[in-house]
Symmetry: D2
Subunit: 137 residues, 4 copies
């Protein structure tokens, strides 16, 4: 298991006329959170793409518990729940500035060859890099 | 049960560098689809808000099956699956221009009093309007 | 000169907590408006791209006069002001549902070869298609 | 004159199928940059709103010079060009990760009373706070 924490400032662009972050904008926050989680492992997603691997999303489930409001510094706790195989699973917990859980989500990504657009296994160097975090203690 | 069909043209703004609609942009498409579904019932969402009711999203589950690409005219089939009580449930099927199912989703919305921001029951006129569609045949 | 009119429904996603369309979201509306203007000439932008031409924006000037609000059916009047050469110039007038001018803008696009990413002249078939609209009467 | 520098990571959500940041997404970057510029002066925009002042945009001019690409850490240099009166003027220079200028813009914002939605002068405490930066040397 690998856990990473990332903070995001809510922008005016993200709000809607209810005065809350628009429900569709969390997907961008999750993207940012998991990108930084992957970067912190030394594996920027940009390099995966340069190596010919794409990671489209195949599933996303969100449970909205409470709102985030303009200018709040929210915290996203991203968990890579299991060793990637053909899929990569992330879960997210979003906390508002007061530390209250406002949002939970899961995404499933699939490894795809950028040329053939067919599913492939996780690249070996990614598996190697992640292995210590999933080792049986 | 109430089913409504709506078409949306994919815009450049919606795509990402993978050449597909960004996974987070479907939420906007679902919003558009359910708004038009509600409008077709004679109940514009704008009027609900003017009557002091808000409808924030409490859950969204998406299964991404295939991509939508730039300039495609996609079709969203929106189903109001059951009679609203304190919640309103919509399901969505998204088809690409060739008629292939590329995306399935569900959203749960909750009726909230705009003043108190507390949960309320669906307004009676909405229930009355929908009743014929959920009548036992 | 070629003028085209297009209507867009303001979505919740487009609003911000001021209760108006977020200032950055008009760029998407202009994109939609000029795409439909080009389509109405029988030249879908998608086909330009398939023919190896891209049209990135090089300038955009916007004058915001008044707000657009949720669920309004706004009208965008798009004008192709002059015959394309290496650039293509569009101007836009945005009217709210009451017919009031709320927004004026101009964009300059440049023809680019998708392979070399160098500037090129407007393709001849586009020039031919547009010629009747710019003929001296 | 007051100058502030801010860095933003380009996200997948921001790109389009050309592989560049979508031209409409820079408005969000400028918002982020000027918010942080104002915050650095000890005047969070959130507090202006709480004090009943809104700052809608009345003009935006952008000159696009080159692209920003996925995952680049771009730098925005924001300049508050003159003392606010009824308007507030910001200019922006956007640099890519290699330090190349890719984008220049200006925005004009207007002070509005949130209740009456009428134009007002800049609040005195904002003027006082900014005065040292515009003092004749």
């Amino acid at each position: 298991m690998y856990i990473h924490s990332h903070q995001i400032r809510v922008r005016y662009a993200d709000t809607d006329q209810m005065g809350y972050v628009y429900y569709g904008n969390y997907a961008r926050y999750y993207e940012e959170a998991r990108s930084e989680a992957i970067r912190s492992l030394g594996l920027p997603y940009r390099e995966l793409e340069l190596a010919g691997i794409m990671l489209p999303i195949t599933r996303m489930n969100i449970k909205y518990i409470g709102p985030a409001t303009y200018d709040e510094l929210i915290t996203i706790r991203t968990t890579l729940t299991k060793m990637p195989d053909r899929f990569m699973h992330f879960s997210y917990e979003v906390y508002n500035e007061a530390g209250k859980l406002i949002n939970e989500a899961e995404t499933q990504l699939v490894f795809v060859d950028a040329q053939t657009r067919k599913m492939v296994h996780a690249p070996q160097y990614l598996v190697d890099q992640l292995a210590p975090h999933f080792a049986v203690k």
